[in-house]
Symmetry: C3
Subunit: 267 residues, 3 copies
């Protein structure tokens, strides 16, 4: 098992992201659109929430990366999601699937299953979602994981192998796997679970990193690393989830190579 990610590589990707400002199309749930867009802006990417049928597919061809998050899958958005996934695959735009609450609820479970056929570049979820998406479990409790990332390793590996995707499992220690190698990132803070969209926005950040580096495994892991290191910085000065949320946006803007090198915990 080779660790394929160095702190220097993360810093190079982050610098490229800030220089190029990748255009990240997000088709995401109604709860987190605002936070997701602000996370991308703070980091240096350019969000665009084009999720209307006809526009969604067209935009996926010109976007730098696409996020599809099935958290509130209204009928019109479902059409747009399939359109965007299909166009992204055709155009070679990297795209990320976030299978929110899959397994528990039928509409999104069917939708996520259909979306898998368009070979997501990366899949990001919590352990219960990844296990359910791989057909190995019934899902968590709403959006909460009831399993640990390590317990989802086999499921993540299977998903990765079958669909040719990198799979990122969020938790106290995040797992990223392509079905062969595994990278673990030990950064982060529990406050991230007390801000709605703490996980969802990472999917968008992953799409932004995939847009700036063709090494999908490294890019997916780098997204998690930068995101969770910023969370640590923000948590240091926070008095609760409210002050954490705004400090996190500030930290995404200010996190730099020195901080990343001194903090990132890759294994």
């Amino acid at each position: 098992m080779t660790v394929r990610l160095t702190p220097d590589h993360i810093c190079t990707m982050l610098a490229r992201l800030r220089e190029t400002g990748p255009l990240v199309q997000c088709l995401t749930n109604t709860v987190v659109t605002n936070f997701t867009a602000n996370v991308l802006l703070a980091l240096g990417a350019a969000p665009a929430m084009a999720d209307v049928p006809t526009e969604a597919g067209q935009f996926a061809r010109i976007a730098s990366g696409v996020l599809i998050n099935v958290g509130t899958p209204h009928a019109e958005q479902r059409v747009a999601m399939v359109e965007a996934a299909s166009a992204a695959q055709e155009a070679g735009t990297p795209w990320v699937l976030d299978p929110v609450a899959v397994g528990v609820l039928p509409v999104r479970t069917a939708l996520a299953s259909e979306l898998l056929s368009y070979a997501p570049t990366a899949i990001r979820g919590n352990a219960s979602e990844v296990i359910a998406l791989a057909g190995l479990g019934a899902g968590g409790r709403g959006v909460d994981a009831i399993d640990s990332p390590e317990s989802a390793l086999a499921a993540a590996g299977r998903l990765a192998s079958v669909h040719g995707s990198v799979v990122a499992v969020s938790g106290a220690v995040d797992l990223i796997t392509d079905g062969i190698d595994v990278i673990r990132i030990g950064n982060g803070h529990p406050y991230l679970t007390l801000v709605t969209g703490g996980g969802c926005a990472l999917g968008a950040v992953t799409a932004a990193f995939l847009a700036v580096d063709g090494d999908r495994m490294a890019a997916t892991a780098a997204a998690t690393a930068v995101y969770t290191v910023a969370a640590e910085i923000a948590a240091a000065g926070a008095c609760g989830p409210g002050s954490f949320a705004f400090a996190f946006l500030d930290a995404l803007g200010s996190v730099d190579a020195e901080i990343i090198r001194s903090r990132v915990a890759i294994s």
Copy 2:
């Protein structure tokens, strides 16, 4: 008239809420989804915004509590709301109706009327909304009340009696009634009216408290008490509505038995 709520009872409910993390399904308006989810997370509950037809009814059977807020009642969500209310009633899941701007606007007025037939456990609104929902007035000005809570007491009592609901009327002094007793909570701060969703999120918090205590009158009043005491704490250090909003989330996380006992104003 017996006051049926003690500070100790409030503290017991809050402790139980934080221990059990009730799963609160929210079918709410597009303006406040994010804030509502963050309020629930900060308090210790688990939000889930499942508002798609088919999923909505299924989720209402497993949720600990449900909020239905008719603030932006799009067609697909209206279907999901009726489904969720019906499933909640059948499954015995406590549910809260927030009749935003009822009386003023026809689509939501008809919808709220239909939802009433599923016997909401609690109804939370401002005075003008409660008066309009009871069929005794024309509603306020958009989402703003033009009446005081006391002027809505008769309407609240009638709604409570006819539908078997506890009715909470928000205002400077909040009223909670089951048609027999009345509890008044004198806490709060005007900043709550300068943050969008200040009232809407209380509906979700009410659903969370109803999930942890079968005394519906006490649970509804406790939700208002904890919420408005937290607002006082947050307002003390705020420089405006922006800093209040994040301090309020922090306060919902840190408010404890000592603060509640020293501040809560029940009559």
Copy 3:
């Protein structure tokens, strides 16, 4: 070319806005509903996001001002937008069109074109959007302008003349024109571009100012002036886009005549 706006006139309009609390109906995109409502509340206006067909038209007749922003133009909202624009025109309610990403994407481009036929009181966009809406260019990159306000002056003038609208072009120096006169406002801060809805919420604020002063050119320019002066105040103490966002809401609440007189840069 006569400058038709004085600092005193801006202060008079702001005072009137705070006294009367104009009811601003917003039909806007899902990303910025929350921020837009909070911006209006902080400033002293009353937001109402009535965007369901049947209700939308009815509400536009009683609202003080209407914003129509085509950022995420779902089918049901498109119907509501046409209804609201038509009702606003008929009832004489001032209304603002924000043509987000027009030119790039087909559904909103057709919609904005249709909406223009209801003679918006004001049009607010970035340079690329204004050029595209005038039929003189292909639009920007998603929601980002690739042109400067000055380069959009001819397009803005043409739009203003053809549709009888005041056109506001946002950028480092904002341009406001009715096709004859031009007002430039040199205030603002780059942080506004790092908070999603930084431009969109200005459209809502413009509707609020149009509600309190019949001089459409002055009201549109005053909205920009107050908004961008508040941004300067907020930026002075901010550590990044997260802390800026909440400080901006505070500043909208506290900005006063003295601050405006000392800072506003009209030319």
